[in-house]
Amino acid sequence: MSTQVALHVDALSSGYGPLQVLFGVAFDVRAGEIVALMGANGSGKTTTLRTITGQLKATGGRVLLDGEDVTRMPPEELVRRGIAVVPEGRGMLRDLTVEQNLELGAYVVRDRRAVRDAFERAYAAFPVLAERRQQAAGRLSGGQQQMLALARALMSSPRLLLVDEASLGLSPAMTETAFDLLLDVNRTAGVAVLLVEQNALALDLANRAFVLERGRVVDAAEGADVRAMQRRLRDAYLGAEAGEVTS
């Protein structure tokens, strides 16, 4: 795995009007690795993703993609630089068919043959989607929508995948499946993944991890330390409230 940095987030601040949500968030994602950005509701993790993609305007700091400053770049341009996004709640275009959703995943791909190849790969990897290619996306089950969202994001053969709460609304079993898919994609295609999550299971796949709390990065771990971070998160969940003693 190279140490070349794909995505570099530097002292990023942003918010909604007078309400500031992020206060100098900093982390990076190196080529080919999986990074988990953990945080509870209200921690600012979705805001971070939106600011990186340009849906929300940053008030301070920078976002660098392969060295290029993309802080002010709108999402539709960012996607043309090899980033794909799996939005929160999967971002299904419910009235369009599975096939149309996949085709939109390849919107930025100009070469017709490349698009056809991408379709073949998608249907081979996800036979369920091949069966339902003419069905409206809104009619798929939660797990199937998750598959479609992931397949759609991969249609453009991205170098970096930004995944916003893949576990939303999924049972533990389905969440595991989704994470397995991401791991697979990372291993076989070398796609870097930034996983924004609430579910600590994400740390099973992560090479590195950061914890976000009220708009700031409060914890970071790499390699073997990621397991320790997972245990810390579990303790926090199980009852280490301010002042409470765990036996």
């Binding site: 849906q55 539709e76 996004v85 275009l93 009235d95 369009l96 939109l104 919107y107 759609r152």
Partner: protein, 294 residues
């Protein structure tokens, strides 16, 4: 009676052209534009002025066919300006603000027309010739026939756009969820501009053909025509282009049949009002609309 029906279909075709533009804008941006009729009228008025007095500076009196071309081009330009400077700044405001803004545009254009051309109806020579055809008892003048043919062409083109082109797919994606469309790489701003330009062009076409079909056009006429198109769009379902076409044809037929049957002035308006209210009461989303229309 059949004659009235057929004539009504051709007026309805004119309204449908405007209505398709209204629906296109509504679907892609959730903005209901009340200005479509007037934008088209303004374009046609400029065309008529240049036919009547010649293009300023050049002294060239353009031919009737060119009045149609001018109508389309000027309407497209006006639509572009409106999208950029009036509607786009209102993107994050409640929808009523954009509605009021388009109302203001319609008012402004109508008053400008009144200023430039006076209140009397402008005689509008047919841009497409003076021929007529007979269909089942009905005598259809050239503009009416052309309006109907154009509508069919537009219907086919929009179908092809949405099913066969990548850009059309992008428009559908924007209509579904602009935020998701953006992260898929759709240049949403282009989609918005496209919707408005096409709507403007269609309105210009409709004004030129309807104005000629009705013998003349006066300021604020197109607001009334625009109302019929809006009624058609609402009846058919605000987020359905086929619905806009069906609804507008229905309005055209209804007003032709009712207007011809009853002597009292205004019964056609009453009938259209009843149709609109009735449809909305029974099916708030319109005949072919989806949940998104309400």
């Amino acid at each position: 009676m059949l004659a009235r029906l057929i004539t009504g279909l051709t007026s309805g075709a004119g309204y449908a052209l405007v209505a398709v533009g209204v629906v296109l804008v509504f679907r892609s941006m959730r903005v209901l534009s009340l200005a479509q009729g007037e934008i088209g009228a303004f374009g046609f008025f400029v065309g008529l002025r240049w036919a009547d007095r010649g293009i300023p500076g050049v002294r060239w009196h353009i031919s009737p066919l060119l009045t149609l071309v001018v109508a389309v081009v000027v309407s497209m330009l006006v639509a572009l300006v409106v999208e950029r400077f009036v509607v786009r700044p209102l993107a994050s405001r409640p929808p009523i603000d954009a509605l009021i803004a388009t109302l203001g545009v319609a008012l402004f254009l109508a008053l400008l027309e009144k200023e430039m051309f006076g209140t009397a109806a402008q005689f509008a020579p047919s841009p497409v010739g003076a021929w007529k055809i007979e269909v089942f008892d009905a005598t259809l003048t050239a503009p009416r026939v052309v309006a109907f043919v154009v509508l069919v062409v537009v219907a086919v083109l929009t179908w092809a756009l949405f099913t066969r082109t990548r850009f059309g797919l992008g428009v559908l994606a924007t209509a579904g969820d602009p935020a998701v469309a953006r992260v898929l790489g759709v240049r949403v701003r282009r989609v918005y501009r496209f919707a408005w330009i096409v709507a403007g062009a269609l309105a210009g076409l409709a004004a030129a053909l309807l104005g000629a079909a009705f013998g003349g056009i006066a300021p604020f006429d197109m607001t009334r025509f625009g109302l019929r198109a809006l009624a058609g769009a609402v009846i058919g379902g605000l987020d359905s282009i086929p619905g806009a076409i069906v609804g507008s044809l229905a309005v055209g037929v209804l007003e032709s049949v009712v207007g011809g049957t009853f002597e009292e002035p205004g019964t056609a308006e009453l009938a259209v009002l009843v149709l609109v209210l009735g449809t909305l009461l029974v099916r708030p989303r319109g005949l072919l609309g989806t949940e998104g229309a309400t």
